[in-house]
């Protein structure tokens, strides 16, 4: 196991032991790159997400209109 954190002081074996005994595996910064599978979206979920996306885009147009009207 590499014992150095690049560009910084060496990590001792006591540090390693401390980390491995007190952190859960997925808390380690180096292990967060492990793959998590993509979720399969169901039809209803896609419908809700698209509906809210359209809602947001429409409301942003409303806000921009509100700002434009306020400035004029």
């Amino acid at each position: 196991m590499p014992s150095k954190d690049k560009g910084h002081s060496a990590i001792t074996s006591a540090d390693q032991e401390l980390v491995l005994s007190s952190l859960e595996p997925e808390q380690l910064a180096g292990l967060k790159k492990h793959f998590i599978p993509r979720r399969h979206l169901r039809g209803f979920e896609k419908f809700v997400m698209w509906s809210l996306r359209i809602y947001l885009l429409f409301m942003m147009v409303v806000v921009i209109y509100q700002v434009w009207a306020g400035l004029h």
């Binding site: 690049k6 560009g7 979720r39 979920e45 947001l56 409301m59 942003m60």
Partner: protein
């Protein structure tokens, strides 16, 4: 390896050869050892110590959201509408914030992944980028308003705008250059506690407690009925308590702090205490500016410091100065938390190191994003002639409009058994969360109708 039970995300075949231990890990491990020691001991003192060690993200996110634009929104609310409708309404919005933020804390504790990262990996880059664009735009606009608040608050003391913005950026640098999550969190908590300065300001106005109690119990109708003006204030007050950056911040801070499944019940306590403290400050601000409503003073053109100036004849120079300082504190703390929320999200998506335990040399991208966002927002505030209060209220409105899509991601993740295991949301939490989504969507739609068809609310007694 590891102290707690493995989650659904635990890699199946991790060997010690796979692991590169970083200083970020070592710092977090030291924090976890203290938690384990406090948990292992018996006695009241140890319980309080455990509580002290675990609270933080919930209180910070709630007091952080009592930011410059929020306090100005509350001040505008008190000055324009008094206390009748809005005191219980603001408390309701904080209840909504608890429902939402509890889910982020639970997600962070169960998965040890930030919100942006989970959205990207579970829903894919298409939805991930939508979410990031919402967050980026929302955070940047909100950051601008934090600097507006700082500029306005310090303006009360005669500080020129450039010096106000410069000092805020220096504060931001000092706040994040501690290279230790724990130190940063405790320092910011101490500063955020100053948000309660609005309580003595409210007391200085000698409020009629009978009226306050009556307002809290009876919940009077919206003054003047539904209209575009009242809806902007209603949405601004909702946006003052529930906004997308809070979701990203609390989940990432929970991960950075190292909370685990064992800590969830105290994480809930942290969130509720934070909401209670923030609600007290918000209610106090409305009560503090309510005399302006009672004296029929117009709040149309108030900026943060102008509220303080308007209050000065009623509460004296000292009270007005406290009010202005409260606005400055709100802007300063939120400028730190919001910048960090952007930097966390960037790091999670770009797969770059992202932790407040990182030294600058190892977190160049993280700290660069943080400072760049803040410095650009600060520079924009120096543009002369910006309609500050209008910008502030509109930014809160935009935050409310962006919440329903953000909440759907949160809702789906919190119910995702593949990542949450047995920690998926219980039925009651799902009912409450659905209620919040429906409420926010309807509030946004009402605002949209008021803009497109301003006379549509006439039949409801509005304008």
């Amino acid at each position: 390896m590891g102290a707690g039970p493995p989650s659904r995300l635990t890699p199946q075949a991790v060997t010690q050869e796979d692991v590169v231990i970083t200083h970020e890990d070592v710092d977090r491990a030291h924090d976890r050892v203290r938690v384990s020691e406090a948990r292992a001991r018996r006695g009241t003192f140890s319980k309080f110590r455990l509580l002290w060690l675990l609270v933080g993200p919930g209180i910070l996110v709630m007091l952080g959201e009592n930011d410059g634009p929020s306090m100005i929104s509350y001040a505008a609310t008190g000055a324009r509408f008094g206390i009748g409708f809005f005191l219980p309404f603001v408390i309701l919005t904080f209840c909504m914030a608890i429902v939402v933020q509890e889910m982020t804390m639970r997600l962070g504790s169960a998965t040890h992944r930030g919100h942006a990262e989970l959205i990207f990996v579970r829903f894919g880059p298409f939805w991930g980028w939508f979410s990031m664009i919402d967050l980026g735009i929302g955070n940047f606009l909100t950051l601008i308003t934090e600097f507006i608040a700082i500029r306005a608050g310090l303006g009360f003391f005669g500080v020129p705008p450039w010096a106000a913005v410069g000092s805020a950026l220096v504060f931001l640098c000092l706040a994040v250059m501690m290279h230790r999550y724990w130190t940063w969190e405790r320092t910011l908590l101490a500063i955020a506690a100053f948000n309660l300065v609005f309580v003595p300001v409210a007391l200085l106005t000698h409020p009629n407690w009978h009226s306050v109690g009556h307002a809290l119990v009876t919940w009077k109708p919206l003054p003047g009925g539904l209209s575009q003006d009242t809806l902007i204030i209603v949405l601004a007050d909702i946006g003052a308590t529930v906004t997308p950056w809070m979701l990203f911040f609390q989940q990432s801070a929970t991960v950075d702090k190292g909370l685990t499944q064992q800590d969830i019940h105290l994480g809930r306590f942290d969130t509720v205490v934070g909401a209670a403290l923030a609600a007290i400050a918000a209610v106090a601000t409305i009560i503090a500016t309510a005399p302006l409503f009672a004296h029929h003073m117009t709040a149309e053109n108030f900026q943060g410091a102008e509220f303080a100036q308007a209050l000065q004849p009623l509460i004296g120079r000292f009270g007005a100065a406290l009010f202005a300082l409260g606005i400055v504190e709100a802007g300063m703390v939120a400028s730190v938390t919001i910048s960090i929320s952007s930097a966390y999200a960037f790091g999670e998506v770009a797969r770059r190191p992202h932790s407040l335990n990182l030294p600058v040399t190892q977190g160049k991208a993280f700290y660069s994003v943080l400072f760049l966002c803040a410095a650009t927002a600060g520079a924009i505030v120096l543009i002369p002639g910006l309609p500050l209060v209008y910008v502030v209220l509109l930014v809160n409105v935009v935050a409310v409009l962006a919440m329903p899509p953000a909440l759907v991601f949160l809702f789906m993740l919190a119910n995702d058994r593949e990542v949450m295991g047995d920690l998926v949301s219980p039925r009651w939490a799902n009912i409450l969360a659905t209620g919040v989504v429906v409420f926010l969507t309807l509030a946004g739609l009402l605002f949209g109708i008021s803009v497109i068809a301003p006379n549509a609310f006439g039949f409801l007694g509005g304008k």
